[in-house]
């Protein structure tokens, strides 16, 4: 397998992992919205309500930065990262 194919395989793996986490916070938890809202969540808000106000939104922000860092590492590993900029 060429270097480029290996790079793409790893990138695809990262994509699937990212989309799996995204699925949990955007869709998965809202399948059980009514049940979860009985539970008290962070700062004392009802749990599902908290996820719609802050929890899921914040998780997406963290997820994107995590994804960007992981992808950068993969690019570096195979020598495909760009040079001399930010």
């Amino acid at each position: 397998m060429s270097k480029q194919e290996q790079h793409w395989e790893k990138s695809r793996g990262l994509l699937f992992m990212t989309l799996a986490i995204w699925f949990v916070f955007s869709i998965g938890i809202f399948l059980f919205g009514a049940e979860m809202n009985e539970v008290t969540g962070p700062f004392g808000y009802p749990l599902t309500y908290w996820f719609t106000c802050q929890g899921s939104l914040g998780a997406f922000v963290i997820l994107i930065f995590w994804f960007a860092n992981r992808q950068e590492k993969i690019d570096e590993e195979f020598g495909f990262s760009e040079r001399g900029d930010d």
Partner: protein, 603 residues
Amino acid sequence: MKGNFIDNLPKVYGIYTGGFLAFIIIMSIAEQMGMTAKTIGICFVAFTVAIYAIIGYLSRTAQADAYYVAGRQVPTVFNGMATAADWMSGASFVAMAGGIYFKGYGYMALLVGWTGGYVLVASLLAPYLRKFGCYTVPDFIGTRYGGNLSRFLAVVVLTVASFTYVTAQINATGTIASVALDIPFQYAVYVGLVSILLCSMLGGMRGVTWTQVAQYIVLIIAYLLPVFWISNKMGAGFFPHFMLADEVSRIAELEAQFGFVKNSAENLKEVPKGLAGITKAHSAVNATPWAFISLALAMMMGTASLPHVMMRYFTTPSVKAARKSVGWSLFFIFLLYSSAPMLATLSKLSLIDPTLPTGIIGKSISEVQAIDWYQNWNQANLMFVSDFNGNGTLELNEFFMGGKAVVLATPEIAGLPYVISGLVAAGGMAAAMSTADGLILAIANAISHDVYYKIIDPKAETAKRLVVARVLLVVIGFAGATIAAMEIQGILGSVIWAFDFAMSGLFFPLVLGVWWKRANREGAIAGMALGLISGAGYLIWVRNGGSGFLGITQLTFGIFGSAVSLVAMVVVSLMTSAPNAATQKMVDEVRIPSGKSILGKQH
């Protein structure tokens, strides 16, 4: 000089932010000294718009890559701010808290959808389209799949989606300008339009980028300052986001105490159009899982297909920066979105809690009608009370409010000085202007670059191309303003439709263009055409009394459109021959960040 400007950005915008805060302080002193509310409103809107116009003028350019992609040198964090301003429209700013206030959980699917979509943008598309080096989204479609028809169809989808969106934004600038400057709406729309064009006309994407950063700073201050102030004034907590749990449970308690009494149709006829009462629980789950998830999903896929957002990531210096920049964009959006539910909570509690001095439920009707702010907002057609049961006391089901009032009126109800209302007007104006600018530019660029330059006259010189681009900008702006002046649709409805149109026609052709090598021209053409047609068809069917299926409503028709698009694209691609070796190699190149972009620096 140019490099110098980029290096100095933090300083430039630091001074700008300080200057704006100083302006707010000067205005509040002027208010103490007796400046009228009307003058303060005019000062706020005129001052901020003048600054955007100056930035727009200073960013003027005669180069294609500066005009189309801001020279690809916008740093990560600043591009994040510009994207956030581009993204958060007049609807987000003025109507979102109101939507949460009235509809609760069912509406909050939009919050999840409008943020979760950025994960798709970051992981599926933005870095790859940046590597591609295109000027516009149809530029990617046209080069990846080849042929004028695919390029043209992408322009059609882009125009349908963005134009639906932009009329709502021009409408919002007109509304704010007409209130703040006290002129009739029909003229105010054009005042709004001229302000919008001042930002984008001379500098194209470069001008829009630097004004959007300035607009983000204004709109975020204008949104957060009142939320924090009200929360502290009410004694609800100095950091509302972490401290409103008691208020949320108090609202649930009051809701149980008052009950949601249904008004008869006859009584509701009395209520002015556009106003609503509180009929849904504030924090309880009041929608089925599918209703919530389908709306969130439609907004997420729409986010990843809206060209005015995607093209912001063409302006970063590198692929790496494009990815990070998506994270920053969402962070800056998060600051406002996470505050909207807090504002809705504070606003609702201050109105309905009889133990608070601002609470009006349980007071006598005549007492409420004598309150100053009630009279003001009743006159503005945003508040209404009526004694349906004739007991002389205001009940929960007898109080009606417009969605915009949550953002616009809460500062006044909570007793904040008028300077805050002026600030909120400037913030709403900034939000609507920045989005309108991004959208008009997306349409004008697609038509000037993809239709005029790439299809009609590929030999056109840069100077001529930029003249065409600017003429189109003005024409599209005026077309949008003319339709906005007719006031056909509500702001929020048309915004949601724009997402559905975009995802119907563009989501799968874009995503599969990067992630599926086998996708070919015939497949993409079928995907775009059938996706858009079936999505639009479904909308028309449901609007005309069709029953719909699978719980897909007129707000989520993009789910049907994009499903048709996916199936059509895969089936047609597999039935026709695979893309040639050159195209396959191009896709391989797009998938790695290093090396030259597919399209040259100037193309």
